[in-house]
C-alpha cells in the first residue's frame, strides 16, 4: 500500500491510486496520490516536499528584476551579428571543438521562463540551483582579420586614434561581419605581406556584461539607431534612439579618430564602424557601417583570450 504524497494518508485501494508529476519543473519525478488529491496544485515529490511553493508563478519578472547588466544586453538587439552571418562561406574553417552538452531533464521553454519565480521562495539550496537556471544568451560571434598570426590578444599591438579608442589608448577590434573581415584581411595581406587570416571568437555575453561598456545598435537596412544604457546601467545616462543615438555615435567616432575620446573606466564599446573617415575629416557627416567591438582593457581582452577561437583561412 502506498502513501498519498498530497494528504499523507494511506491509499487503501489500487483503484483510488494515480500518479502525477512533481511540480518542480526540472524534477521529472512521479508521485503517487489519491485520485481525489490529484487535482491539487503543486504536488511535490519526496525530494522536493520541503520546497516552499510560490504564491504566483508570474512569467513577467521585469518589474521585480534587479537592475543587473544582463537584461540590458538582452534588450538591445544583437541583430548585426546575425544579419552578417555568411550565406556562402568563402573561408576554410577548422571546426571548433565540440562543447560538452549539459542537458537538464526535459524542461519546457515555458517552464524555464517560470523558474526564477520559484527560486525566490525556495527554502532548500540544492533544488533551487536547477530552478534558478536562466536561459543562456547566444554568444557574441565576432571576427578579427589580420595578416599576422598570433596566439593571444595583446593590446600593445593595436593602434591609437580609431573609431572607439579612448584617448591615447590602443584597442583590439573585431566585427560581426565575416565578409568585412575577409576584405580587411586581404587588404592587410596586400600591404603588409603574409597570408590573410581570420580569427572567429565566440564570446559569452554574460561574461562581457560583467564589464563596463556600452553599445550602439545600427540596422543598415532600416536605419534604426540605438545607443544602449551603459552596462551596467548608470543613472542619468538614458538609452538614446534615432537621431540622438546617431549624433552621439558620430561624436564618439570623430573624437576617437581625433584621439580625444574620454571614456574613463570603460572596458569596451560596441557599434557600427565609421565608413568614411576621409570625408568626415573634410566635414561630411559620418556614415555608419557594420558591427564592431573595441576592447580597451585587459579585463575585456582576458574574456576574449579565454573564449573559444577558431582560425579561418581566407581562400
Amino acid at each position: 500500500m502506498a502513501e498519498c504524497a498530497q494528504c499523507g494518508q494511506t491509499i487503501a485501494r489500487e483503484s483510488q491510486k494515480t500518479t502525477v508529476k512533481c511540480w518542480i519543473p526540472s524534477c521529472g519525478n512521479s508521485v503517487t496520490v489519491h485520485q481525489g488529491c490529484a487535482a491539487a496544485k503543486a504536488i511535490a515529490c519526496p525530494v522536493h516536499k520541503d520546497v516552499k511553493k510560490p504564491k504566483t508563478r508570474s512569467r513577467n519578472k521585469k518589474k521585480d528584476a534587479p537592475a543587473e547588466a544582463t537584461p540590458v544586453i538582452a534588450e538591445v538587439p544583437s541583430a548585426p551579428v546575425k544579419v552578417d552571418a555568411p550565406s556562402k562561406p568563402l573561408v576554410a574553417e577548422t571546426p571548433p571543438e565540440p562543447k560538452p552538452v549539459t542537458k537538464p531533464p526535459e524542461p519546457k521553454k515555458s517552464e524555464a521562463l517560470a523558474l526564477p519565480t520559484a527560486s525566490k521562495t525556495a527554502t532548500v539550496t540544492e533544488p533551487s540551483k536547477e530552478v534558478c537556471a536562466k536561459p543562456k544568451l547566444p554568444p557574441l560571434v565576432v571576427y578579427h582579420a589580420t595578416a599576422t598570426p598570433f596566439d593571444k590578444i595583446d593590446l600593445s599591438y593595436g593602434r591609437t586614434a580609431l573609431d572607439f579608442n579612448p584617448k591615447n589608448k590602443k584597442c583590439f577590434y573585431a566585427g560581426g561581419s565575416l565578409e568585412d573581415a575577409q576584405a580587411w584581411a586581404k587588404l592587410q595581406a596586400k600591404t603588409k605581406g603574409g597570408k590573410p587570416i581570420i580569427y572567429k571568437y565566440e564570446i559569452d555575453r554574460e561574461e562581457l556584461a560583467k564589464l563596463q561598456g556600452y553599445k550602439y545598435y545600427y540596422n543598415q537596412t532600416t536605419g534604426k539607431f540605438i545607443k544602449s544604457q551603459p552596462i551596467p546601467p548608470k543613472s542619468g545616462e538614458p538609452t538614446l534612439n534615432g537621431v540622438d543615438a546617431y549624433r552621439d555615435w558620430q561624436n564618439t567616432v570623430k573624437k576617437g579618430r581625433a584621439n580625444t575620446l574620454e571614456l574613463p573606466g570603460y572596458d569596451y564599446v560596441e557599434g557600427p564602424m565609421l565608413l568614411n573617415p576621409t570625408p568626415v575629416k573634410r566635414g561630411a557627416p559620418a556614415k555608419a557601417g557594420k558591427h564592431q567591438i573595441a576592447l580597451s582593457s585587459q579585463k575585456a581582452v582576458d574574456i576574449f583570450n579565454n573564449s573559444p577561437r577558431t582560425k579561418l583561412d581566407v581562400i
Binding site: 599576422t148 599591438y157 593602434r159 591609437t160 586614434a161 561581419s177 565578409e179 568585412d180 575577409q182 576584405a183 580587411w184 586581404k186 587588404l187 592587410q188 596586400k190 600591404t191 603588409k192 605581406g193 584621439n259 564602424m273 565609421l274 565608413l275 568614411n276 573617415p277 576621409t278 570625408p279 575629416k281 573634410r282 566635414g283 561630411a284 557601417g289
Partner: protein
C-alpha cells in the same frame, strides 16, 4: 575608376610623395604592384575607405619591413598638417 575611388587613389599617391619622399611615378608603381585598388568584393572597397589614404600609404611604405610603424609617434596618428590639408580640401569643395 569612379570619381570617389580616383580621389582616394590620388590621396594615397599624395601621401606617398609628401610623407614618403617618393616620386609620383614610383608611388604609382607601388600602388599598382600592391593591387590595393583591385577588389575581389564590394566589402574590400568599403574596408579601404574605412581608413584614411594616409594609413594605406604608410602601410605600403612600411608594412612589410616595419609592420609596427604605427607605434612611431611621428607616423601615427596622422600628422596635423595632413589633417589640415583634408580640412582645407573640404572647405574648398563646400
Amino acid at each position: 575608376m569612379d570619381p570617389e575611388l580616383q580621389s582616394f587613389y590620388n590621396d594615397v599617391l599624395y601621401c606617398l610623395v609628401k610623407y614618403g619622399g617618393l616620386t609620383r611615378e614610383l608611388a604609382g608603381k607601388i600602388v599598382a604592384d600592391s593591387k590595393l585598388f583591385e577588389f575581389d568584393s564590394p566589402n574590400e572597397r568599403e574596408m579601404l575607405f574605412h581608413e584614411l589614404p594616409y594609413y594605406w600609404a604608410m602601410q605600403l611604405l612600411y608594412g612589410k619591413e616595419f609592420p609596427e610603424w604605427h607605434e612611431d609617434p611621428e607616423l601615427w596618428p596622422p600628422p596635423q598638417d595632413y589633417l589640415d590639408h583634408l580640412k582645407r580640401e573640404g572647405e574648398r569643395q563646400a
